[in-house]
Amino acid sequence: MLRPLRSELYRLRRRWMTWIVLGLVVGLAFAFYELIYVSLNAQLRLLESGSAPPNAVGPGGVDAAIKQLEDTLQQVRPEHIPDFGVSLVAGLGAVMLIVFSASHMGTEFGWGTLRTSLASGLSRGQFLATKLASAALYALLFTVLGVAAAVAASFLVSSQAGFGTSGLDVEKIVSAGWRTAYAFLPYIALASFIAVLSRSSGAGIAAGLVIYFAESIVMQLLISFNKDYATIANLGISRNVSSLSRISVTVAGSNAQNAGVPLPDQGQAALVLAVWIVIFVGLAFLRLRTRDITLS
């Protein structure tokens, strides 16, 4: 198992896409922090100078609006990284890792290199395991770098804003990072399964993203229609992912309680996501195991 993984990582290190995705999460983390600071700061100055348009001032008056913006701006401080910073990485990561995983798997079909690997003695099971293990390692690296970038961006923007840079809770950050990385796995398994099924990166990316967005919307609609349907929605992916990263969701402004319906507890969420991972990986293996690898 180690030989195929070493070979896989050797190839992965030499792909542009590998570094572009990592570069994007680092760059976007800095960009988001900086944009939030610049945007909120500009609004604050307008309010303080009295030149803000009337619709920018809420019913509570200028002071209340200023207080609200100042509170929001506090989110860039290091003590809020486990909530705000990690949620940023989680939001970017699901989409980016679906794209990455589908490409990681699908290109082997497109390039015909699946044949080359299998003809070199690799079994179908080893092939799949290697691909998934390398994608999981990549998701971990993605999370680590993304969170590290969020930490750096938080320190930078906090200094710019004149906030203190104290309050960094490494233990909380690591815990949130772990949960976020774990929550990526069902999406990686889903995108990989679709890529195996369709033998195509494009189909894997498209279907993976559609399912990612659509499942979340459908579950919300289901609960809006009847709160009792939360039992069904809690067996899906999106609500369990939200549950695992619920500290971040709350602070980022989403509703962790989801219209008054509590999210599953984190233990249950982890279990349900594990079941989805097993289902997707199992289906991918069954499809790959029974498929003849021909030239067409």
């Binding site: 030499r14 290199t113 690997s117 003809a119 070199s120 003849d292 021909t294």
Partner: protein, 309 residues
């Protein structure tokens, strides 16, 4: 399995829906032997190779490499085998050298130590640092051949290795294939280039519609394809006299005389039959058909026969 046999397929059968792609294919390749696998497009050559490599699952039969059943001991069996498929596929973002290193890492053992010597042997050392995607078809073929030798295999399968190569390149491949056999490896060579096969192979297996329709040494295969051009005045009478001669398969009238299909040792019998009939040939010229002639004759005959069930 005899120790000399490094590759054996026994009764391999594969159906794709209604299409019978391989129909009880039995092939043996011995150590130090080059076996040609011939057949028109769609005859089932690549399917057979796919089954040997475990890429295609046979409906029946088995393939063994160095005594190991590919279906049961896949890893062990393929560790002794190097294969270059008809369409050479490598990772396009890697250089030629990196592709071999990646495959050597996958193989394990001392495969990595062979990367550079192989690049030199195959004539790719100068372009080893270029991305695979920039390679010409010929360079891709060379890299494919190099990759087959990474595991120091007992048997090498080459599917159309000369595709895209210029005449000098084709000759190099011929020499390399002979070298591989000299080194004691068995080689299964699938090719459309019949002249190439005739020059390099010890034995050939001809497949058509998934079935083996002929197998043997080149001499054995072409022996049945020998003929004579006979120049004689009274062609009709001569044809009548020759049709009764033992070993004569067919007699055709041509512009200057007759064309007689018969075994190569039948010349004097033909002459005697003509003399007995009071006819005197001004020329009896033996003609040994090439592998190409025999191949076309065999495959056309098979095509005209009833399709496989």
């Amino acid at each position: 399995m005899s120790e000399d046999v490094v590759l054996r397929t026994s009764g391999l059968v594969k159906r794709f829906g209604a299409l019978l792609a391989s129909d009880h294919v039995d092939i043996e390749v011995r150590r130090g032997e080059v076996v040609g696998l011939l057949g028109p497009n769609g005859a089932g050559k690549s399917t057979t190779i796919g089954m040997v490599l475990g890429l295609v699952r046979p409906d029946a039969g088995r393939a063994e490499v160095a005594g190991k059943d590919v279906a049961v001991h896949r890893g062990e069996a393929l560790a002794k085998l190097g294969a270059m498929l008809e369409v050479t596929s490598f990772w396009p973002h890697l250089t030629g050298r990196q592709n071999l290193v990646a495959l050597a890492t996958l193989r394990g053992g001392d495969a990595a130590t062979r990367v550079d010597p192989l690049l030199r042997r195959i004539g790719l050392a100068d372009r080893a640092g270029s991305k695979f995607r920039t390679y010409s078809l010929g360079m891709r073929q060379r890299l494919g051949i190099a990759s087959t030798l990474l595991p120091d295999p007992a048997v090498v399968i080459l599917d159309e290795p000369a595709n895209g190569l210029d005449p000098a390149g084709q000759r190099e491949i011929r020499e390399l294939v002979r070298e591989l056999a000299t080194e004691g490896r068995g080689v299964l060579l699938a090719s459309h280039l019949l002249h190439e096969v005739e020059l390099v192979c010890d034995r050939v297996v001809v497949v058509q519609k998934g079935r083996i329709i002929a197998a043997g040494t080149i001499a054995e295969i072409t022996r049945g394809g020998s003929s004579y051009d006979i120049v004689v005045a009274d062609k009709e009478r001569a044809a009548e006299a020759l049709r009764g001669v033992e070993g004569v398969r067919d007699v055709r009238l041509t512009g200057s005389g007759l064309e007689v299909d018969a075994a190569p040792d039948r010349g004097h019998e033909l002459n005697r039959a003509l003399v007995d009939a009071g006819l005197y040939a001004s020329a009896i010229v033996p003609r040994q058909n090439s592998l190409e002639d025999v191949f076309i004759e065999l495959t056309e005959k098979e095509s005209n026969a009833a399709p496989a069930a």
